[in-house]
């Protein structure tokens, strides 16, 4: 909390100066040879806000792998499980996987709240429309056209 306040009270010029100092410290001898792009091009990592977490990347990979195996397994249960449950389960797992990729691999977890919502809100509309379509399709499949009064 106090850290946040200190950040907020810094003037833009001071932030830039502090950032430049951190960058300078983070540049390795090898980086100097290649104009220090690796560290310099990535202010967040150099400033300690966005350090790569390799262990987390591998954990996410295994989660995605397990979810994919589960998806395939669920798809083969089509003769034993109701269609509504099956479709809900498959769509739920797909959306979870997509969200995990966007959040961790596309680094939305490191972006500001406004940036995250700027991406999420526009995509909610086609998702909502898809939900309505799937719900209607499932309703038709279960109750037939008579259920809709047609």
């Amino acid at each position: 909390m106090s850290e946040k306040k200190t950040e907020e009270t810094k003037t833009p010029a001071k932030v830039v100066e502090a950032d430049a100092a951190v960058r300078k410290a983070a540049v390795t001898p090898d980086d100097h040879g290649s104009h220090g792009h690796a560290a310099a091009g990535h202010g967040h990592a150099a400033a300690g806000h966005h350090a790569p977490n390799r262990a987390q990347y591998w954990r996410i990979f295994f989660v995605l792998l397990v979810l994919t195996i589960l998806e395939v397994g669920v798809a083969y249960l089509q003769h034993y499980v109701g269609k509504t449950a099956l479709v809900s389960c498959l769509v739920g797992m797909a959306v979870t996987k997509a969200a995990i990729v966007a959040f961790f691999y596309m680094h939305l977890n490191h972006e500001s709240k406004v940036m995250r919502w700027s991406v999420a809100i526009p995509l909610m509309f086609p998702a909502l429309y898809a939900f309505i379509l799937i719900a209607e399709g499932t309703y038709r499949a279960v109750w037939g056209l008579k259920g809709l009064g047609l």
């Binding site: 091009g41 790569p52 995605l64 998806e71 997509a98 940036m115």
Partner: protein, 223 residues
Amino acid sequence: MSAAATDHDHALVYPEEPLYSRITAGKLAMWMFLLSDGFSFSGLLLSYGILRGSSKLWGCTTEALVSKFGCIEEPALGINFTALLTFLLICSSVTMVMSHASMVEGDRKGALKWLGLTVAGGLLFLVGQCWEYWGLFGLFGPHHGLIHEGLKFGATHYATTFYCVTGFHGLHVLTGVIYLSAVWIGTAMGKTDANTLEVAGLFWHFVDLVWILVFTFIYLIPN
């Protein structure tokens, strides 16, 4: 001259923006492009959903359906093989993020290694998709491809939507492979930075993300 400019000729320091933090212009532009591309895929998948939901017959894939509807038999879409393609794209996503991580840590060689693996994953995916469509002239087993087996573009909604959605995604994979190859060359020549890799990675992860949805909607959801 700003402090950043005096610190290093090539180091652009992005000021802390109150709403969007320190996001670079390139990254923001890529996100805007990905959103518009996401709407394109949404349109394709939604029209696929509408056509499938309103169709009495979706894929004349069994003899029972042929005798009942008098339709021409079409092949069913294979789940196991496309699950393998999904696995490939997930692998290429983790190698992409590792490439970026290596670059952030200043390990250019490591970044090149992981990026090369990502490109290889994309190429394998494309070979897999060609095999699915055309069977690659029997090079990899007795499978002759969906086209040869009767899944003809324009013949039914089932066939046309399949080729439109998976073909459009395949073009994205091809674009990604070309884009990442260019970034690989740039990285080998020392002309890229971690931000370049992150922006390229955004495109690649998006391709993976879209495939996750395509795989579910086209291949996994049963009739």
